[in-house]
Structures are given as structure tokens and as C-alpha cells.
């Protein structure tokens, strides 16, 4: 009795001090998954890939108990969240990591709202399944309406090689996974198209650099997943025709950039990296590794729509389905033809190369190699039972409240007549770009990676992203820090300013200052650069409406600038989010420190 009274007293005393908290218990372990025709061991959070969708409310405390049942250290990093650095979850920088058998409790206030995610920052555990979505509901009403939402976590799973094996293979032979190299037959094709001399000169140019124009993804052989399901397992999200459906896309892949489209539906981008942007209706968008985009779609017909996330290297799809009922499936078209890098991507599009850049490498060798991933024959019924046995990581929550008064941007829901069955048609071979298809300023002019909507129409550009409510007042940066993205493809060593992480000094920022990061991509790869703990305000020419992002993707041969408000004291990670670039050195520690009296002098 006395104990009870004490407890009651304690409860009364403590109550005011305890903010409302959303609590989750996460257990890190292993589980068998089957996404490549055989049971394989994944590292999982609460037994599934992805881990559970964690939902919080803005302003409440996040309390997350993470228990490590693995035989090795682990950690969870809250990707994109603003938090005290000790809660950021990077072993060796923010904390020592979580030892086997140990439980670590993360606790910090949710200072923001939007779509985020979480993943391991230890070893290369993220590449074998340790990731999940994190959603924070805003306090205030959102400037867009929707009736229902789904989280779609895109990822890649390597069925053959462990992450360490992949790195070892790349160290032995950097083109180990490149089975899209140019061969004798592509040379004969090119010679036919541009003449023997030009074809030879082109080969010599690449040979001089000792680089491969087909090196778009360092690693191939992946199975692509949507919410942990492969294309056959077909994760399905429900809708009622006419509803506005919010899709929260998260790219949790280790190495894969996805180009996302939903044939038959216009998508309206309303949020990027958790921050609201002025709505942009698009037909397709590219989601870099670690980015998030929220889009709203309004399917009106009583049919299945395929949500297609095609890898940037055009090696396959992650496919999900939006359907009025379970057991339906949208069709999977053929992969678009392989893209090839051009001299423009090498930062070498000087005068006399103009002809080269104009040469459309993207259409070379088409038709010959693209394989049909047995798309069109996938009857939905066959997978019905299978779909039900898996735990749905996404709760498919219904949003009841309607936010009347907020006008939606015009959404021309033009439905493609029978768009789903156009498999095998090589749209990109039609050459003439659709109207409204203009060059994206965030790619080098003539870049082989220049995005183009598969079915014509609008492809999202970084230039389209405009903040609705800027997070910071606009002010000039006090100084500029050059961040050259560098690497040695042949040795498979990636670095910043030519120095890899283990040889580098931290980047030091003064608390309260605004600095400008000038990213100069000197490599032939696209690097999604992620800064922990602080926003990167991407300079896309929108002035005070420049969007704040946690991850900025820099295309080959491009220079991109972003401002950082150094308002978070502590030690933070800053790195390329491609797993094997991060692991081989494209990584820095960023230290934000207050000037002490001694230091000022």
C-alpha cells in the first residue's frame, strides 16, 4: 500500500515533466527473407524488411528502445531528423554504438514534420535490410489534401553477394558488376551510325581516361523491392476511385537511384525530404538514394495502377500496385534502353566536343539487350495468398479529415487508354522529346543521365522545388567551403577533396554561422550527399524559397551549391549515401562548435 502511494506520488510529481511521448521498441535481429527465389538471411528491425513504419506527432518526444540481438554492434540513425547529436546514431561520431545484447534508448523531441526514415549506420547492415520509414504528423494543417496515404520504401537486395563481398570484388576489379560494357557489336553499330573514324575517336577518348561510359551503377545484380516485396510479390496499396492518395516515397537502397512513374496517373509532388514544396505536377521523378518525395495521386478508375520505380541504370524495376482491391496487379513494361555517360558527364564537353555531346548515347544499342522481366503475364490472383501472409509494414492509414479551403493544384488526371499493356514498346526510341521536356539544369548539358519521362511529359527537376515556408530567413553565407567529390574508380577509392575519411580532418563550422557548400562533382558517378543534423538549403535559383534538403544529389560534371545554417552543436556525419562510396571514404565528420573566449582571443 505504501509502495502504491509512493508510486502515485511519484507519478503526480513526474507528470508535468514528462512530455507526451511516442514510444517504440525495436529489436535488431536476423530473419529469413525470400525475394530472389530462395530463403536468405537479412538483418531486420522487428523481423521484417523494411522495419515498421514509426509514426510520431510533431512536438512530442520520440522514445525508441533499440535492442541488439545480433552478434555484432549495431546502431540506428534517424535520417533527416533534427536532434541532439548524441541521439543521431553514428558509431564513432555520435555514440559508441549498440553492443550485442544491449538496449539503447533514443529520446529526443520531434521538432519537425514530414516523411523521413531510419537505418543502421553500422557495418553495412543497411544494405542487408536494416531500414524503415518514419513519419511525423504535423501540428498545423498541411497545405494539401488527401484522403488516404501509403508509405512506399524502395530498396535493393543483392541475392548473390554480401556487402563485404561486393566491396572486395570491387577492390579486385572495379568493373566486376558491369555487364553493360561496350563491345565489338556496339562498336560496329556506332561505326555504322557515326562513321568509323568518329566511333574510333570516341573509344580512344574513353580509353585515354580509362573509364567506362556504361558505369552508371557500380553494382548490378540487384533485386529491387517496394516495401520489401519484389515485383512478383507485388506490394499493393488500396484506394477507392476518386480518392486523393498520398504516397510517401523513400529510397532506402544501398546503391540504386530510381525513376518513379505511375502510368496513367499524374503525380503532384508536395514534399521533398520532409519539407513541403509548392506542388509540382509531374509524370515521373528521380529519387536519389536516401531522398524522400511525397506525391499525391488521384486514381479515378476502378483498376490497378502500377507504381514503377525503374533503376537509373535501366536494369529493372521495383513495382508496387495501387488497386481498388487486393489481388490486382499493374503491368510491368520493358526496361528502357541502357543509358550511357557522355563526355559531358566527364566534365569534358569543351567546344569541339559539342558534336559528341549531341550524339545520343542513350539510344545506342537499343533493342538488342533489354530483357523483359516477364512482366505482362503476372496475374494478380496468383500472388494473393502470398501477399496476405507477410506482415504489412505499412499500416495503410486512412485520413478522415478533409482540409477544405486549401485548393489543390490542377491535376489533369489524364488516363492513358490501356496504358498498362504497352509493355515492350520502346518509347524512348521515338526520339522527339515530348513537349515540356526541357533540359534539367542539374545535369551537365548533353549528359547521358538527363532524365526524360518514359511516357512523355514532365520529369521533376531540382529546379522545380520551391519551399512553401522557408525554414530560415534568407541571408548570405559568411563563407564558402569547396566540397569536391572525388574518387578513383580503378582502385575503388572514393573521397572528398581527394582525401578519404580515415586520412581526413573534420570540417569545422562555427555555431551560428551560415556557410555555403560548393559541391563540385569531379567523378563520373552521381553522389547523393547527406548531412546529418542540419539542413542543406539547395540553391536552385529560388532565392528565399530555396528548398531545404537532407540529401542533395550531384550529377557527374556538375557544380551544385547549398547553404548550411550551423545551428546544431556537436559532431555530425556528412557523406555520400551510396553504400560503397561511403564505406570506401567519401565521408567527413562535420564539427559545429561554439567559439570559446579562449578561441576568440
Amino acid at each position: 500500500m505504501r509502495r502504491l502511494m509512493l508510486a502515485a506520488l511519484a507519478a503526480i510529481l513526474l507528470a508535468p515533466a514528462t512530455a507526451r511521448a511516442g514510444t517504440y521498441d525495436l529489436t535488431i535481429g536476423t530473419a529469413a527473407i525470400n525475394v530472389a527465389g530462395k530463403d536468405q538471411t537479412a538483418m531486420t528491425i522487428n523481423g521484417s524488411i523494411p522495419g515498421p513504419v514509426l509514426r510520431f506527432k510533431e512536438g512530442e518526444d520520440l522514445v525508441i528502445n533499440v535492442t541488439n540481438t545480433l552478434a555484432e554492434d549495431t546502431s540506428i540513425h534517424w535520417h533527416g531528423l533534427i536532434l541532439p547529436y548524441q541521439q543521431d546514431g553514428v558509431p564513432g561520431i555520435s555514440f559508441p554504438g549498440i553492443k550485442p545484447g544491449e538496449t539503447f534508448t533514443y529520446r529526443f523531441p520531434a521538432q519537425q514534420a514530414g516523411t523521413y526514415w531510419y537505418h543502421s549506420h553500422s557495418g553495412m547492415q543497411e544494405a542487408v535490410g536494416m531500414y524503415g520509414a518514419l513519419v511525423i504528423e504535423p501540428k498545423a494543417r498541411e497545405p494539401f489534401r488527401y484522403d488516404r496515404e501509403h508509405v512506399i520504401v524502395l530498396s535493393d537486395w543483392h541475392p548473390d553477394d554480401s556487402p563485404h563481398k561486393i566491396l572486395s570484388n570491387l577492390k579486385m576489379s572495379a568493373d566486376y558488376y558491369n555487364y553493360q560494357k561496350r563491345t565489338l557489336s556496339t562498336f560496329v553499330d556506332d561505326a555504322g551510325k557515326m562513321g568509323l573514324g568518329a566511333a574510333l575517336a570516341d573509344r580512344m577518348d574513353w580509353g585515354d581516361m580509362r573509364m567506362l561510359p556504361s558505369d552508371i551503377a557500380d553494382v548490378s545484380g540487384y533485386v529491387f523491392l517496394a516495401n520489401g516485396r519484389n515485383t512478383e510479390q507485388n506490394w499493393t496499396g488500396l484506394f477507392k476511385p476518386g480518392e486523393r492518395v498520398r504516397l510517401r516515397f523513400i529510397n532506402a537502397a544501398a546503391m540504386t537511384f530510381f525513376d518513379v512513374r505511375i502510368p496513367g496517373l499524374k503525380m503532384t509532388v508536395v514534399q521533398a525530404d520532409g519539407n513541403n514544396v509548392r506542388p509540382v505536377p509531374v509524370d515521373e521523378f528521380r529519387i536519389a538514394v536516401a531522398e524522400t518525395y511525397d506525391v499525391i495521386v488521384r486514381p479515378t478508375e476502378d483498376k490497378a495502377y502500377a507504381v514503377l520505380a525503374e533503376s537509373m541504370a535501366r536494369t529493372g524495376f521495383a513495382r508496387a500496385t495501387l488497386a481498388p482491391r487486393m489481388g490486382m496487379a499493374g503491368d510491368i513494361p520493358a526496361n528502357r534502353p541502357k543509358q550511357y555517360l557522355t563526355m559531358a558527364d566527364m566534365g569534358m564537353a569543351h567546344g569541339d566536343m559539342a558534336g559528341m555531346a549531341g550524339m545520343d548515347h542513350g539510344t545506342m544499342g537499343q533493342g538488342a539487350t533489354h530483357t523483359m522481366p516477364d512482366g505482362s503475364t503476372m496475374a494478380g490472383t496468383r500472388h494473393e495468398g502470398q501477399g496476405m501472409t507477410h506482415a504489412m509494414p505499412d499500416g495503410t492509414t486512412m485520413k478522415g479529415e478533409s482540409h477544405a479551403g486549401h485548393s489543390m493544384p490542377a491535376q489533369p488526371t489524364h488516363t492513358m487508354p490501356d496504358g498498362a499493356t504497352m509493355a515492350g514498346m520502346d518509347h524512348s526510341a521515338h526520339g522527339a522529346p515530348a513537349s515540356g521536356d526541357k533540359a534539367d539544369p542539374f545535369y551537365a548539358p548533353g549528359s547521358g543521365l538527363m532524365p526524360k519521362a518514359a511516357e512523355g511529359g514532365k520529369f521533376l527537376s531540382y529546379a522545380d522545388l520551391k519551399a512553401i515556408k522557408p525554414l530560415y530567413p534568407d541571408r548570405p553565407a559568411a563563407r564558402e567551403i569547396e566540397v569536391r567529390l572525388t574518387g578513383n574508380m580503378e582502385r575503388y577509392v572514393w573521397s572528398i577533396n581527394g582525401v578519404k575519411y580515415s586520412d581526413a580532418e573534420p570540417i569545422r563550422l562555427k555555431f551560428g554561422e551560415r556557410v555555403r557548400f560548393k559541391f563540385v562533382n569531379e567523378t563520373m558517378m552521381t553522389h547523393p550527399m547527406h548531412l546529418h543534423g542540419m539542413w542543406q538549403i539547395l540553391d536552385n535559383g529560388s532565392g528565399k524559397y530555396n528548398p531545404a534538403k537532407h540529401t542533395i544529389s550531384i550529377a557527374p560534371g556538375k557544380t551544385v551549391e547549398a547553404d548550411i545554417e550551423a545551428d546544431a552543436e556537436g559532431e555530425w556525419a556528412f557523406h555520400c549515401h551510396l553504400m560503397y562510396h561511403m564505406a570506401t571514404g567519401m565521408f567527413r565528420k562535420v564539427v559545429v562548435e561554439r567559439e570559446t573566449a579562449e578561441a576568440v582571443r
Binding site: E72, D73, S75, V90, P91, G92, I93, G97, H121, S122, G123, M124, L167, S168, N169, K171, M172, S173, Y176, Y179, Q180, K181, R182, T183, L184, S185, M204, G207, D208, R210, N488, E490, R491, V493, K500, Y501, S502, A573, M582, A583, T584, G585, F587, K589
Partner: protein, 240 residues
């Protein structure tokens, strides 16, 4: 043979203990140790003269900045005694984006009498994807020799690869006891057609031509051997 095994065992032991394994956290794994063993050529040669079993292989262990490497090559005519067997233990360090410097020792069990050399060389990927390896050797008898190798992969398909290669051996002084003259001693040229079943495993067929020059050719003639030989080859290259 006993020497050979001892040398391999010793080399591996040194390699393994010279480095400690890297850390497991994502922020500190860019300095990890890797190792691979590779047989470029393990082949049977048929044609002029006796049939020959020939090999050429290497292994390395280390991080991005420091590696220990082992190289071996040799030829064994069928039904005769081992003709050529060479082993190198090298320290390897990058000197540019595409080139490494090698330094270490070379020991030849054959030809008889055996010879030990100091080695310094440069290997790497030259323009147009030409794999090159150039080495200078100083033997225990004070003789200086050099070797230059180049090979390139031409892709016919993603897995079918035509691989021309050339090797030139030359010496700056004569070492009569191992039948090495001064000047260009031998030139070898090969053309192999490989099929990469996996990256790690590629059977091949091809041609191998070898010609001896100058005093080296005279030594061969004195022994009643041919000074040049063209042979068909069939073999396998693999690594792990």
C-alpha cells in the same frame, strides 16, 4: 619444391600478420584489408617442341595504401624436368591514380642454378586500358635484367574476351650459367580468347609464340633446342 612451399607459406604468414583487420563501423571502414589470389594463366601448350604446362599467377593482401604481393610463373615441359619457375615477393604502393610501384625479391628455382634477384618495378593501367608491368632485376651475381609486359582485354561480347599480350625480356649483361645473353633475350606474344563464365572463372584457348634472340638463342641452339616455338594453348584463368 620444398623451397617453393616454404616461400609461399612464409609469404602468407608475413602478409597476414603485417596488417590488423579494420574496424566494423560505417565511419571507419575505408581502411579495410582485402586479399585475392589469381591465376592469370594455367594452361597446356601444344605445338613446336615438347608440350608444356605453364602458369602465371599472383596474390595480394592489404589496404588501399600498402599491399604485399606474391607473383609466380613457370613452365614445365611434359616428360622433362621443370624448365622455368619464378617467385616474387613484393611490397606494393600506389604512386598515381593508375600505377603502383613494386619492390621486393625474386627467386628462380629454375633455370638451374637458382638465382635470387632484387626487384623494382611499376605496374598499372595505361591509356586504352593496357595493363602494363615493367620490372628491373638485379641478380645475386650482379647482372641486371628487365622485363616488360602488356596486355589488353577486347570485349567481343560481355563475356567473350580477346586478350593479346606481349612480354619482352632483356638483360644488360650476360649470365652464362643460366643461359642468358646480353640484349633482348626473349619475346613472347600471346592471343587468348576467354569466356568469362563468371568474372572469377574463364576457360580459354589461344596461341602462344616465343622467340629467343642473340646469345640466348645461341645457348638454346647449343642445347639442341629451337629458338622459336608456336603453340596452341588451352587453359583457365581464375581468381578468388
Amino acid at each position: 619444391m620444398k623451397n617453393f612451399i616454404l616461400m609461399i607459406a612464409g609469404g602468407l604468414a608475413v602478409s597476414m600478420t603485417a596488417f590488423s583487420p579494420g574496424g566494423a563501423n560505417a565511419a571507419g571502414m575505408d581502411d579495410d584489408i582485402y586479399w585475392h589470389v589469381q591465376a592469370d594463366q594455367a594452361e597446356y601448350r601444344i605445338g613446336d617442341g615438347a608440350d608444356v604446362l605453364a602458369w602465371q599467377g599472383n596474390a595480394w593482401i592489404g589496404n588501399d595504401d600498402h599491399r604485399l604481393a606474391f607473383k609466380t610463373e613457370g613452365e614445365n615441359p611434359i616428360g622433362k624436368r621443370l624448365e622455368k619457375a619464378e617467385f616474387q615477393f613484393l611490397y606494393r604502393k600506389p604512386i598515381s591514380d593508375f600505377f603502383d610501384v613494386n619492390a621486393g625479391i625474386r627467386h628462380d628455382l629454375r633455370p638451374d642454378p637458382d638465382r635470387t634477384y632484387g626487384v623494382i618495378g611499376i605496374q598499372g593501367l595505361a591509356k586504352q586500358f593496357v595493363e602494363t608491368d615493367a620490372n628491373l632485376f638485379v641478380s645475386e651475381t650482379g647482372d641486371v635484367s628487365a622485363r616488360f609486359e602488356a596486355e589488353v582485354d577486347w570485349l567481343i561480347t560481355q563475356r567473350l574476351v580477346l586478350q593479346p599480350l606481349v612480354e619482352v625480356d632483356l638483360a644488360f649483361s650476360e649470365d652464362r650459367r643460366i643461359h642468358s645473353g646480353a640484349g633482348i633475350n626473349t619475346v613472347e606474344a600471346g592471343l587468348r580468347l576467354k569466356y568469362e563464365i563468371r568474372r572469377e572463372f574463364a576457360p580459354y584457348i589461344g596461341l602462344h609464340y616465343e622467340r629467343k634472340f642473340g646469345a640466348t638463342a645461341n645457348f638454346a641452339r647449343d642445347e639442341g633446342e629451337d629458338t622459336d616455338a608456336l603453340r596452341f594453348v588451352a587453359g583457365v584463368s581464375f581468381w578468388f
